[in-house]
């Protein structure tokens, strides 16, 4: 049985170059819009990618600067701890309780009750 490939070149679409080129041209005409949309999408993503690294670097710099500022400001705030007593008093918290909050030793229950009674 002869099972050699058959000559089917008559069905080759490229055998008629004019028709073939016209068919390719029609596809490319229809593809113009979707291709342009893809380019636009890539451009937008590209801009985001371009800006992403500098923005990250700027954010990192700002974070470092903020940490530096906070480190400098914290001692100054600590120096004004005395002001805490004034605020506590304004809120009706006994001065003794505020003192104990900052101290290392823990007051007894009797001392706490005594301080609360004095405040009233």
């Amino acid at each position: 049985m002869n099972d050699d490939p058959m000559d089917l070149r008559a069905f080759d679409p490229a055998r008629d170059p004019v028709r073939y080129e016209r068919a390719i041209g029609r596809i490319m005409d229809r593809a113009a819009l979707p291709l342009a949309a893809r380019r636009a999408r890539v451009t937008t993503m590209g801009q985001i990618t371009t800006w992403w690294r500098p923005m990250l670097a700027l954010a990192a710099a700002l974070t470092l600067a903020a940490v530096g500022v906070l480190t400098q400001v914290r001692p100054a705030v600590a120096a004004t701890d005395g002001a805490d007593a004034g605020v506590a008093e304004a809120l009706g918290i006994p001065t003794a309780l505020v003192t104990w909050m900052g101290a290392a030793e823990t007051p007894t229950a009797a001392q706490v009750f005594s301080a609360l009674e004095e405040a009233q």
Partner: protein
């Protein structure tokens, strides 16, 4: 990186030149499938055109290394849609359509005759047989690739090809064709 893979990746980015190269590289195979399933040139061209545009729209879903098979699946689906539409038309209306369109008159008389004889014979084959025969004998696809594209075993693809050639030779004695083939 394979040429097709590179072209798919560039076309995804909107590179028109890459997409055109992709179209040119795969047009014949897509056309072969469209032609095998629709049975005429005009519908085949429409199916291929729609197939490529659909492929472009969904290019992000495609595995760049399997573009050819993926494209043929799209073309096949479009061809099935066309065939379903054709089924509601009357047979008389179909016969009125010149299968090769207006350009056919430009073809040489001998080529025209070869096509006519081949078309009549090919019409006797099943769509799958036509597709496999054209992909293998015209496009030079390997059995493995055809089988993968058609989601069938390689043995089955070989069997279809064998049956298609056998049937075509019965319908189309080579002595007759030799009068027309170069």
């Amino acid at each position: 990186m394979t040429a097709t893979r590179d072209l798919v990746l560039r076309a995804r980015a909107g590179d028109a030149r890459a997409f055109e190269d992709l179209v040119r590289a795969h047009y014949r195979a897509a056309y072969t499938t469209g032609r095998a399933l629709t049975g005429n040139d005009m519908d085949a061209e429409d199916v291929v055109q729609d197939g490529f545009i659909r492929a472009l729209e969904r290019l992000d879903e495609c595995d760049p290394d399997r573009f050819a098979g993926w494209l043929l699946t799209i073309v096949r689906n479009r061809a099935h849609n066309i065939r379903e539409r054709e089924q509601v038309r009357t047979a008389a209306a179909i016969e009125d359509v010149d299968p090769a369109g207006p350009d056919r008159a430009d073809l040489g008389t001998e080529r025209h005759e070869i096509r006519r004889v081949l078309e009549q014979a090919m019409a006797q084959l099943s769509p799958v047989q036509r597709e496999i025969l054209l992909l293998h004998d015209l496009e030079g696809w390997r059995h493995r690739d055809i089988a993968e594209s058609l989601a069938m075993s390689e043995v089955m693809a070989r069997q279809h090809l064998f049956q298609a050639r056998k049937r075509l030779r019965e319908l189309l004695p080579q002595d007759d064709l030799k009068e027309y083939l170069p």
